[in-house]
């Protein structure tokens, strides 16, 4: 308990647990914001009192939509009398608006009303659609479609107006007014809302079909008829939504085909005067829709791209593989027979790479020697283990930064980031990154990006080196010490501790508990082909611990006498899954079956927000020769030299995923936590350790 951080410079302002409410009788739920990510609190949706936190918040670009609605309305011609009133508002709200610059036209008198009406419905739509389609939004495209539909709807709510405009003199304006006002009233009842949505969708469809402004009357008529036979069933509703989506797509296409014409066609009244236009003609509706799409849709899409991490390289994608080969520093012959399920992972012929890389040493003038050295060490397997690899990489980067000088005409922030990226891709070629390294690189890059511009180059370099030192000290070395302290409290006299493979934290725990004078026995479980446990065993024996050494085949036999299982991890994922040396899952499962507590020891910098359910989609393939050959046993080495045989596939996996239900506890530098609390750590400290 004493090892926990006692004070914090900035206390968490989040309202949890023991918070004093000004209200004497605090409603207990009020302080609970658990169910939603904390970031979403910054958004406005929660300010509205009726918005339950359980509901999925509406997409954040409401205001954007609105502004585009308004600006889109500009494309609609109107009598010039109201122009000044609107102009300044348009200037304020219109961020992207081709029609505005082209025409400089004011908006209809009703548009403010329509806007307000639209905004109320918009709010409703935002909620409704997000609530209704929440299941749909779990697949990637879901959110996109939604926004499209929504925007289309509102564009068309607007779009109705211009259609009615030419009739204005003829007295149709009344009808329009009625409709608008009625729809404002309608916005309150859900049934009516549904109808409004249908109308809008109809309008969208009609507009995209190229009926244009002239067809406005017809559209209106159709609308009124559709009002009468409103489809109440959800099925019909769904169909409407689909149609609207299709319409939106069509509108987008039309817009893409004839951008120039659209711009030209947006001229005030000539479109509207034309009683009927054929399909090819760009319609006002579609223009609006198109511009709206362009304006309103792209930014969220871009944002979304930013949120989604770039997809990992899939090595069964031939095109990409070829492309990446062109960029590669040295060519690695690929293994021919890869197991069907693991084609997406890189696997190379081992043995030839090292000599190939060594021969290229002089050619690689762009490569910093320190990085080159680390790369070769990775490749040769001299540096293994998550922490060691991470520290080696960071030290190499430190040297890179020390030797770095900004080339003329470039800025340090950009150039250094690019350089580091190129080094990282070199290191990936040598061996795929571990997740801990990924996190460290992310940290490094964010530090570079956040450098104040006022710093001189030497200052910046010193700051970055300092940051790396601090990362290594605080997140790795000190974290290990804290973990060791915590874990030692779980070792009692007479315990039998089992460990698998060789984890440096577990080794430290065992040695520390031994130093404390606890009486316990260690079972080291090992596996082919790496035999990492033997090195651990040697070091433990040197310190005088009593050990048992066995292979993973015997784990079920040995487990009944074990009281604790201590395991290391390469990474712990958000769902509590532990990603670790292959065989860990097996040991954990056997331990679980014997009701032996499994303790995972892992520094918090190795936590990752990814969720993984199996060990197939992300893994590393080792040298197939390693498992094909048994050293020192020529009699069983019949498999030798058959690694390229066509109907024989070797699978040498490096990692596996241990489901969280087999894990009793995760010991991390933030204390001992259940696997269900990993997301809390990731959420609360992700930002912090990017800032450190």
């Amino acid at each position: 308990m004493d090892a926990r951080r006692v004070s914090q410079v900035v206390p968490k302002v989040r309202q949890v647990g023991f918070v004093t409410h000004s209200d004497p009788n605090p409603p207990p739920q009020a302080s609970r914001t658990q169910s939603v990510p904390i970031e979403s609190n910054s958004g406005t949706p929660y300010d509205s009192p009726d918005f339950s936190p359980v509901m999925i918040p509406p997409p954040r670009h409401h205001s954007e939509n609105l502004s585009h609605l308004r600006s889109a309305a500009v494309a609609v011609p109107e009598s010039s009398s109201r122009r000044p009133m609107w102009d300044d508002r348009v200037a304020v709200v219109g961020s992207y608006n081709p029609g505005n610059s082209l025409l400089g036209q004011p908006v209809s008198p009703n548009s403010s009303e329509v806007n307000s009406e639209a905004s109320t419905t918009l709010g409703w739509f935002g909620r409704n659609s997000s609530g209704k389609f929440s299941a749909g939004s779990s697949f990637p495209g879901g959110g996109f479609d939604l926004t499209t539909v929504k925007m289309e709807n509102f564009t068309q709510l607007e779009g109705k107006k211009p259609e009615a405009v030419p009739e204005r003199g003829g007295g149709a304006a009344v009808e329009v007014h009625n409709e608008v006002s009625s729809s404002t009233a309608k916005a309150k009842t859900t049934k009516a809302e549904r109808r409004a949505m249908q109308e809008a969708q109809r309008a969208a469809k009609a507009a995209t079909k190229g009926k244009g402004g002239g067809g406005g009357v017809e559209v209106n008529n159709r609308e009124s008829s559709s009002n009468t036979l409103k489809a109440k069933t959800t099925k019909a509703e769904r169909r409407e939504t689909q149609e609207a989506q299709r319409a939106a797509k069509a509108a987008g296409k039309a817009q893409g085909n004839k951008p120039v014409a659209a711009a030209g066609g947006a001229g005030p009244s000539n479109i509207l005067r034309q009683p009927s236009q054929n399909r090819d003609d760009p319609a006002v509706g579609s223009t609006i829709a198109g511009s709206d799409r362009r304006g309103g849709d792209r930014p969220p899409e871009r944002e979304r791209k930013k949120d989604v991490p770039p997809p990992r390289m899939q090595f069964d994608d031939q095109g990409r593989v070829n492309k990446s080969k062109k960029r590669a520093v040295f060519n690695q012959p690929e293994a021919k027979n890869r197991v069907e399920l693991f084609r997406h992972l890189p696997q190379y012929e081992h043995g030839s790479q090292l000599t190939d890389l060594e021969s290229k040493f002089l050619e690689l003038d762009s490569m910093h020697p320190a990085v080159y050295k680390v790369g070769v060490q990775y490749l040769a397997g001299d540096v293994t283990g998550g922490n060691a690899r991470c520290i080696a990489m960071l030290r190499a980067f430190q040297e890179v930064i020390n030797d770095y000088s900004t080339p003329p005409g470039k800025t340090l922030v950009r150039d250094l980031t690019a350089k580091i990226s190129s080094y990282v891709s070199f290191l990936i070629e040598c061996r795929p990154l571990s997740m801990s390294m990924g996190n460290a690189i992310r940290f490094q890059k964010s530090r570079i990006a956040k450098l104040p511009l006022t710093l001189s180059e030497t200052e910046a370099k010193a700051a970055l080196c300092n940051d790396i030192d601090r990362f290594i000290n605080e997140k790795i070395i000190l974290a290990d010490k804290v973990i060791v302290r915590h874990a030692a409290t779980k070792v009692r006299d007479g315990d039998v501790l089992l460990t698998y493979g060789s984890s440096c934290v577990v080794e430290m725990i065992l040695l520390y508990a031994h130093e404390l004078g606890k009486q316990f026995r260690v079972v080291v479980v090992d596996s082919r082909p790496k035999h990492e446990g033997q090195a651990l065993l040697r070091r433990l024996l040197a310190k005088g611990l009593s050990c048992t050494y066995t292979h993973i085949n015997a784990v079920s036999y040995i487990m009944h006498e074990v009281t604790r299982v201590f395991l290391g991890a390469s990474s712990v994922l958000s769902n509590g899954t532990t990603y670790s040396r292959v065989g860990t899952a097996c040991v954990a499962m056997v331990a679980h079956a014997f009701r032996v507590p499994v303790l995972i020891c892992c520094e918090a910098y190795k936590f990752h927000e990814r969720v993984q359910l199996d060990s197939i989609c992300s893994n590393e393939l080792g040298d197939s020769n390693d498992i094909a050959r048994v050293p020192g046993r020529p009699d069983v080495n019949s498999m030798d030299n058959r690694t390229n045989e066509k109907n024989l596939q070797f699978l040498n996996l490096m990692y596996d995923a241990t489901p969280s239900e087999y894990v009793s506890m995760i010991i991390t530098d933030y204390g001992m936590i259940p696997p269900t609390s990993v997301p809390v750590i990731v959420r609360e400290y992700r930002r912090e350790y990017l800032l450190i």
Binding site: Q8, P11, G17, F18, R564, P597, P674, I681, E684
Partner: protein
């Protein structure tokens, strides 16, 4: 119901027998005197650590006031009576007071957890650094009193929250005597809910008998079982309601001996197990198994002399892992077991 008997029961509920308990408190008191004496030598102040225990004992005498709440009130009194001139001094004083309280009864989880939470809650504020000492102190007092109030009201809040889970015609199995569970059932009875309660006997201190008595006074239909009849009656039970000595980080609970086996039986018969516990019982403990806790022993009266060669298991409480619990009713809301750890992380880290 005499006062002393009440606290004897309570002490037994916490797994400390009266004689042990008194000896322990005496020991702690002497220790406190020693530290107080040192303080006199050091700073020339009157023994303050001694007064914490006094204060605590004063509060403790109030009926229905939980031990932890008494400790919280006593700590608040420490701030109020402090003569410290700087924040650092005050903090050290508070720390000393809470340590002496904790050492007063090391087996009580809620006391330790309550003191820890008080320290976290009261001292965790950045505004203190920017204020002058007096206003900062008054702010501390304010927070301390608020915390005391929240803790005091916790039981009522829990009772209110759990009303939704008690439906007409249900049968509830309870184990031992827990004041929170009592409050829950009392409120349900007041709300004119029709339910039946099965009380275990609650050996060795027979706290279940007491609960049965109290419920009978409220005209709630009660049936008494011996502790070993739990599995026999589980098929007619709709839900299991237990209190907790402490809620640990995994989301499991430490409670009176027998809770674990009831939870196991309920789990195997797919009956929900609800735990009513105030949030000041959330402790930074993480037992991995039953033996992974500080022992709380309690001699058991078997009625007949036991030969000296026969060993007696005198442990007073057990640990129920989170997978056997359905929901926790706390003053923070109705939580699943996994949320406990989230709350603790946010509070302590």
């Amino acid at each position: 119901m005499s006062m002393s008997a009440y606290y004897q029961t309570r002490a037994a509920h916490h797994g400390v027998v009266t004689s042990d308990w008194l000896a322990q408190s005496q020991e702690a008191a002497t220790r406190a005197v020693v530290t107080g004496g040192q303080e006199i030598v050091d700073g020339g102040k009157s023994g303050r650590a001694f007064s914490v225990i006094d204060e605590f004992n004063n509060w403790r005498k109030q009926p229905d006031l939980a031990e932890a709440v008494a400790a919280i009130r006593a700590l608040a009194a420490v701030i109020r009576n402090s003569e410290a001139k700087t924040m650092m001094e005050l903090e050290i004083e508070l720390k000393k007071a809470s340590d002496s309280l904790k050492s007063w009864d090391t087996t009580s989880i809620s006391l330790t957890a309550g003191c820890d939470l008080f320290m976290r809650y009261v001292t965790r504020t950045s505004a203190l650094e920017y204020e002058d000492f007096n206003s900062a102190r008054s702010r501390l007092i304010e927070r301390a009193e608020k915390f005391g109030e929240i803790s005091y009201k916790a039981r009522k809040i829990i009772a209110m929250l759990s009303q939704d889970f008690i439906f007409d015609g249900c049968t509830i199995l309870v184990h031992g005597f827990s004041r929170v569970v009592m409050e829950v059932l009392k409120m349900a009875a007041q709300n004119k809910k029709l339910f039946r309660v099965l009380c275990t006997e609650g050996r060795p201190d027979r706290s279940g008998l007491r609960l049965a008595n109290e419920l009978a006074k409220l005209d709630v239909p009660v049936k008494l079982l011996i502790d070993s009849a739990v599995a026999y009656t589980m098929d007619e039970v709709d839900m299991v309601f237990v209190g907790a000595d402490g809620v640990v980080e995994s989301g499991g609970i430490i409670n009176m001996m027998g809770t674990y086996q009831i939870a196991l039986v309920a789990h195997s018969m797919n009956k929900p197990v609800y735990v009513a516990a105030e949030s000041y019982k959330f402790a930074r403990l993480y037992p991995l198994d039953q033996k992974d806790m500080g022992p709380a022993l309690r001699p058991i009266d078997f009625g007949v002399p036991i030969p000296s060669k026969v060993e007696v298991e005198t442990s007073a409480r057990d640990y129920t892992p989170p997978q056997y619990l359905t929901l926790l009713f706390t003053d923070l809301g109705v939580l699943t077991p996994s949320v406990v750890s989230d709350e603790l992380i946010q509070l302590y880290l």
